[in-house]
Amino acid sequence: MRARVEHPVTWLGYVCVAAAVLAILIIGWYLRKQPRLDFTTKLVLLVGLGVLPAISAGSSTVTGMEATTKRHFCGSCHVMDPYVNDAGNPESQSLAARHGRNPFFGDRNCYVCHADYGMYGYPMTKLAGMNHVYQYYVRGWRNYTIEEALAKLHISKPYDNLNCRQCHSGTLADWGTVPEHVALEKELASNAVSCASSGCHGYAHPFSKKDGAEGLPQSALGSDKPDRAVPSALPSAARDRIAEEKRKEAERRAADEAAREAAKEAAREAAKKAAKERGTKKEQTP
C-alpha cells in the first residue's frame, strides 16, 4: 500500500500561485473587455504577460528544484515505495533509515546520499533524475509491481564512496585507527569495496539485496551474528591485509594497555615510597 505523502507548500510556492492568479485576472479582464490597445492597455498586459509570469516562473523553478531534493519527491514513483517507506521508518535499522533520522539529512536523505558531488555533480544528478522519469513513464517502469521493481531495478553505477566521505572524512584520526579502513584504503578510494556493503557498514537498503538482513550491521541483528565480518567478495590479498592490520591494531592496543598498567604500577610504588619516607621522618622527630 502506498504511504500517504504530504506536500507542504512553501512561501515561495504561495508567491508563485499569487502571481499566477493576478496574471490570470489581468488576462481575463483583457479577454472579456477587449479594450483599445493604447499605451495603458499595453502596460497592463506587460504586467499580466511578462512581469507576473516571470515571478511565477522564477518562484516555481526554485520551489521545484527544492522539491526534487525531498524524499516524498523520490517516492512519487511507486517503484521507490519500499525505499522511501524504509528510509522514513523510525523502527528500521537500515543505513538509509538511520541517516534519515539524522536531522542533518532529514527528509532530504535520498538526495544527500545519492547526489554526485564535484563541479558537475548537480547537473549530472539532475540529468540522471530526468533519465529516471523517462524510464518510468516511457520505458515501462510504471507498470512494474514492487516485486518486479526490486528484482529488476538496480543502482545504475557502483555507489561512490566519496559521497559517504563528504561527511565521514577519511582524513580524521579516528578513521585511520580502524584496521579495515587502513587495509582497504586503495579499494575504498577506487570504489572496489563499498562502505555500504555486507561485512562493512551494511547495505543502505538491505531488503533490496539477495542476502537481505545479512547486510544489516550488528546493532540491528543482535549479538549472535558476527559484526564487521570481512567482505566475502574481497580478494585474498585484501583479506590478508585486513588480518595484518587487525593484528597490528591488537598489538598496539596491548602495548598501550601494558604501558598504562606500568604507569599505574610506578605511581603506586612512588606513593608507597613517599608514605614510607613520611613515616620514617615522623619517628625521627622528638
Binding site: H7, V9, G13, V17, A20, A23, L49, F73
Partner: protein, 87 residues
C-alpha cells in the same frame, strides 16, 4: 526598422489573444508543479510550462511591435495646432 512582411500580416489583437491563452496554460502548469511536487508535474511545469510562458510573451512583444509599426510616424501627422487655428 520595420518587422518582416509576413509578421506584419498577423493581426495584433489575434496575437494578443493567443498570448493570453498560452499564458493561462503556462501558469496553470507552473502552479500544478508547485501544488503537487511530483516527478511529472515538476518536469512539465519547468519545461512545457515555462516554454509556453516565453512563447506567450514573444507573441505579446510581436503584437506590440506590429502595432507600433502600423501607427503613422509622428512626423507625418498633422500637428493639432494648425487644425485648431481659426482662419
Amino acid at each position: 526598422m520595420k518587422p518582416p512582411e509576413f509578421v506584419r500580416r498577423w493581426h495584433v489583437h489575434g496575437l494578443i489573444r493567443v498570448a493570453c491563452y498560452l499564458g493561462v496554460v503556462s501558469m496553470g502548469l507552473m502552479c500544478w508543479s508547485v501544488l503537487r511536487p511530483a516527478a511529472l508535474p515538476v518536469v512539465i511545469g519547468m519545461s512545457v510550462g515555462q516554454g509556453l510562458g516565453v512563447l506567450a510573451f514573444l507573441c505579446y512583444l510581436l503584437a506590440v511591435i506590429n502595432d507600433i509599426s502600423r501607427a503613422p510616424p509622428a512626423s507625418t501627422r498633422e500637428p493639432p495646432s494648425t487644425r485648431d487655428t481659426p482662419t
